[in-house]
Subunit: 193 residues, 2 copies
DNA sequence: GCTCCGATGTATCGCACCGATACATCCCGA
DNA sequence: TCGGGATGTATCGGTGCGATACATCGGAGC
């Protein structure tokens, strides 16, 4: 209950609108193009989210120049308010479990451009721990298993483990890159250790 | 609304209980050991599911031999009824979207041992189509994108695409294996094509 | 010129399921 | 002996997906 736990959509919407004002339909297309590989945003959650953000004063409707519009189809373009930008900065600073869980990590990562280097690093490491935790859990459970597993179950396990291990390796590379970049930027202890 | 759409838990529980009677806590551990890499089953859904299955007469409480029990801690062991077994067979025969979506595919796959060869093949192919569809969608959306993307977004895209492509390759191998096995079993057209 | 269809667009409802939490008992080590 | 961790059952709140409904626009085909 602390502060915006689990509300992935809020960040996704705020982050997208930070680039450029958008309306619902377009927003969904953007998000699904950006993150379609990981999750599927739907209207059933988008529109309620937009309404909530509107009520909170974090976004507002943008009136297009009336002269340019002729055949004006009903279309509601939203843009960030000052409070919205503040809130976005806030969300981008949070490096907690809500940032590295499966559903939310992708969204946070997608807006890393606007995230401080230190926060980026903590999120990447948090995600890595999360995955390694999961690997451990499944591996020990597997080791404790008495009965012989059928080939399908084994193959599923193998594939699952391999996928997660692969993501861990990916995270390792990203973390190394981040470290290298931040070392270049502030080479105080460049030769240290 | 047709017939048990989306109810992944039902299959997971019925399938697990088919191997051996279990109680809630153990059931959850089993499922998380089996599928923990893909999803996380929680009590908040398990117990309501068990209750529902009980009401439907698909499972029943199993009384352990009272003599053996001494310090009997309250523990409710469930086992399949005849109707439950029937229902399970039914679920295992269904090869629809509800079988190859992200959340459900793993569960269906985990019980492939009890699934007919033909159904297995259709599920694997269905999943593959689903993933290829997604690849297409993201690729064309990406191609249509005018603005230049930052390196984080690009890396996310790259990693997402690679993961899905990898799963498609995995499915290809599985499908080939299935085909080979089924050809061996009924070598009517062994030399055909 | 007319019509149909698919893309664009806003919106709601049902409901599956996760995370957190509460609470009780058992067992084991300090 | 006492406290913490594993075992065990159970509920509640809330997020967000899928299906659906319903409008309008532009273009393809005839």
């Amino acid at each position: 209950m602390a502060s915006g736990q689990g509300r992935v959509l809020e960040l996704a919407v705020l982050g997208s609108l930070h680039e450029t004002p958008l309306h619902g339909y377009e927003l969904r297309k953007r998000l699904n193009a950006l993150l379609g590989m990981f999750r599927a945003f739907s209207y059933g959650s988008l529109y309620p989210c937009l309404r909530s953000l509107l009520e909170q004063g974090l976004i507002m409707e943008e009136q297009p120049a009336p002269t340019t519009i002729v055949g004006g189809r009903s279309k509601i373009v939203y843009k960030l308010t000052a409070e919205g930008k503040e809130r976005l900065q806030d969300l981008l600073t949070q490096a907690g479990p809500s940032a590295w869980e499966d559903e939310s990590f992708g969204v946070h990562f997608a807006f890393f451009r606007h995230t401080e280097a230190e926060v980026r690093l903590r999120i990447l490491e948090g995600r890595r721990s999360r995955l390694e935790e999961r690997l451990d859990a499944v591996r020990t459970a597997l080791a404790r298993t008495r009965e012989r597993l059928d080939s399908y179950t084994l193959e599923l396990q193998r594939h699952g483990l391999e996928s997660v291990e692969r993501e861990v390796r990916w995270l390792n590379e990203l973390i190394a890159t981040e470290r290298r970049a931040s070392a270049e930027e502030s080479p105080d202890r460049s030769t240290d250790e």
